[in-house]
Amino acid sequence: MNVASVPVHDSGQVVDRAHIRDGAPHILNAVRASVAAIPDPELPMVSIADLGILRDVRVDADGQAIVEITPTYSGCPAVDAIRDDIVRVLDAEGVSGRVDVVLSPAWTTDWISDSGRQALADAGIAPPAPRGTRVSLGLGIRCPRCGSMHTRELSHFGSTACKALWVCERCHEPFDRFKELV
């Protein structure tokens, strides 16, 4: 039993198409690129690869594509939509495959790429603190609209499980903040 990869749910959705053969790595690369580009359904400015939701795309001994994804939060309803999107992409690529949802090791905001962080900020969502920094909840967050550090938390919980609701005291605009989860 592989502790690093514990499937907890499986979609059971299998695309019944041609298998990826060992001699066709370019197909795997194409599948990998297409899957990686799938936008997150709730944060469509960021791809599932940039969010760190996409764990792995590989081929098993039977020539089936295995796509591993991980939820940001345990109850995140976007996981079901993402799984469906991946199945559609595999179908479009003409390969058979399976989507596994794995929980371990648990996702952290450190897995969000630099380009993902920039895309969040550009969309008015304050990204989590840079990797490696461990900030306390009391530390100031920069307003994604006017850049002021004079901001405060309105609520720990926001429009999705992964965000908190903040407000800027200078421009008075409320904004979403992607919560650090480490």
Partner: protein
């Protein structure tokens, strides 16, 4: 909070042995029932932010329940929906605290304080389970219930050390939920019967619970209730009357339209 009903999936995840499954079932039921209770607040909370907060907390708990129930069901050829929607009251193993009615907002916050403090202690230890699936669910859940405890702590302090009325109602909430605290740390036959190193001994969590809860009650200028414990035996399939009202609402759609999808 009714989730989307999925087509029956073929489980290729890890298969639980029956004794581990019985233990996972109780943990899943606790979270499932509390998630359903919190869902009742949506559109009824005192402020919009709390609609969102209680809904999000319920969603986290539902996620934990799905993990535990999917794993438990793997031992019996059942999926999460079979277990959530097609068991009757005496087949549920949830402890009584989780099934208690919402009451007013202070009652709910008291229930959240006790529930979150217990779950934080539980998942802290369950991460070290020799069962990799339980350890993985716990490692994920531990981060989330820490947020829930923080939420409940902040509200307990604000209400307890607030106005005269908020103080009285928060104290009444603590008194209403206190009888169900002892059961959290009482005998769980499934934990006892689970293979070595799989389950957490409930009694071992009391110290961490007290360390989290008692200082909050004191700082909030409230008093630790002295009401006697209820004769609660949720882990044995014996439940308080409120569960009998909760289940029909949670299960009616799936039972009226088996296999329905949306």
């Amino acid at each position: 909070m009714t989730r989307a009903i999925h087509p029956v999936s073929t489980a290729v995840g890890e298969i639980a042995d029956e004794r581990t499954a019985a233990y996972a079932l109780g943990l899943g039921d606790d979270s499932l029932i509390l998630a359903q209770r919190l869902g009742e607040w949506i559109a009824h909370a005192p402020e919009l932010e709390e609609d969102v907060a209680l809904g999000n907390i319920g969603l986290d708990l539902l996620g934990h329940a799905r993990g535990f129930l999917t794993y438990a069901g793997s031992a019996w050829g059942q999926d999460e929906d079979d277990l959530a929607y097609f068991r009757d009251e005496q087949e549920f193993r949830s402890r009584w605290l989780f099934e208690q009615p919402n009451g007013d907002f202070a009652h709910t916050i008291a229930r959240q304080l006790f529930a979150a403090a217990y779950l934080v202690a539980l998942y802290e230890r369950l991460q070290a389970s020799v069962d990799p699936t339980l350890a993985a669910i716990a490692a994920k859940a531990a981060k989330e219930v820490a947020y829930h405890l923080d939420h409940a702590t902040q509200w307990t302090l604000r209400l307890g050390d607030g106005t005269e009325e908020s103080h009285e109602r928060m104290q009444a909430g603590l008194v209403a939920m206190w009888p169900y605290v002892d059961e959290l740390f009482s005998d769980d036959p499934a934990a006892t019967a689970a293979p070595d190193g799989v389950a957490v001994d409930p009694a071992s969590l009391r110290q961490a619970f007290d360390a989290a809860v008692l200082p909050v009650i004191e700082e909030a200028t409230l008093e630790v209730p002295t009401v006697p414990a209820a004769r609660a035996r949720g882990r044995f399939g014996v439940h308080s009357p409120p569960l009998g009202h909760l289940l029909p609402e949670m299960q009616v759609l799936a039972r009226r339209h088996p296999g329905a999808v949306w």
